[in-house]
């Protein structure tokens, strides 16, 4: 999870941001399933993990569609340039 958080802090590319967000959520999935395994409730961990996975997939799809639209309209994927354009 630390790797994903570090990537979120240092990444400027919009698509790369979605990728590192995926890394972060995958490690959270691992934590959920491992916690279920450790407490003897694997199925509870699985059902929670399914919900997280669905939400994560929707976030990825919307994030990628947004990145493609930003690239086509503004010609850049750099988040700092996007914040400059807002001024």
């Amino acid at each position: 999870m630390g790797i994903g958080l570090y990537g979120l802090l240092i990444t400027r590319n919009l698509i790369k941001l979605v990728i590192v967000l995926q890394v972060l959520v995958k490690m959270a999935l691992l934590a959920l399933v491992a916690a279920g395994h450790a407490t003897g409730q694997v199925n509870l961990g699985q059902s929670l993990a399914v919900t997280v996975l669905v939400a994560d997939t929707v976030v990825a799809v919307i994030g990628l569609a947004l990145a493609v639209q930003v690239r086509q309209r503004l010609g850049t994927l750099d988040v700092t340039q996007l914040s400059e354009l807002r001024k």
């Binding site: 802090l9 240092i10 790369k16 590192v20 890394v23 509870l44 988040v79």
Partner: protein, 196 residues
């Protein structure tokens, strides 16, 4: 136990490479590697259903979506420095890990408080609200993507309505009005009488 450690170390290495790789396509492939290794870990832990879903969705669908998006947006490598300085980012990550570690102590495994429930019963009966949320999320995702992927309208472009009245798209509107090829000036909101 050694297999778990090897798989998780491999997943962590793939995750590091996914963050570090300068090319987006390489990052996506490393991310698919993380998914494959994690699904193997899930399978070994007995979480078979989530292993299959992770392998098919995480390593399959998401990878295809990323490749499709990269093909549309381009593999643009940004060489500029990051917004947050790397030492500060490292410090923040260490702080977050320390705080999570403090929350996880003591490390003694908790005793199961309820009897083990089959996955199907757990998902459809005890976690029914989660399923409802998933349906809403999927619907919201589809609607959001349809809205985002739709053809963008350009400034000054006409939208013809069924009653024959044309209107100008209001965003990015130029006050002077862009002349059309036939010399006709676009209809502007300012051309209509405004209420006092």
């Amino acid at each position: 136990m050694l297999v778990y450690v090897a798989l998780i170390v491999g997943a962590v290495l793939c995750a590091v490479q996914a963050v570090r790789a300068p090319k987006l396509l390489a990052s996506v492939l490393w991310l698919a590697g993380v998914s494959v290794l994690l699904s193997t870990v899930f399978y070994l832990m007995g979480a078979i259903q989530i292993a299959v879903i992770e392998l098919s969705v995480g390593a399959g669908l998401i990878t295809v979506l990323f490749v499709f998006a990269i093909s549309l947006a381009g593999d643009e490598a940004l060489e500029a420095p990051s917004i947050v300085p790397r030492p500060v980012a490292g410090f923040l990550v260490m702080l977050a890990i320390a705080l999570i570690g403090l929350q996880m102590l003591p490390l003694a495994p908790a005793e199961p408080t309820v009897a083990a429930v089959p996955f199907v019963e757990m998902l459809w009966q005890e976690r029914g609200l989660d399923l409802l949320v998933q349906v809403v999320l999927i619907f919201a995702g589809v609607v959001g993507v349809l809205g985002l992927i739709g053809q963008p309208t350009k400034a000054g472009e006409y939208e013809e309505f069924e009653d024959g009245i044309s209107d100008v798209v209001s965003h990015e509107y130029s006050p002077a009005g862009r002349p059309e090829p036939d010399g006709h000036r676009p209809v502007r909101t300012a051309d209509y009488p405004q209420p006092d």
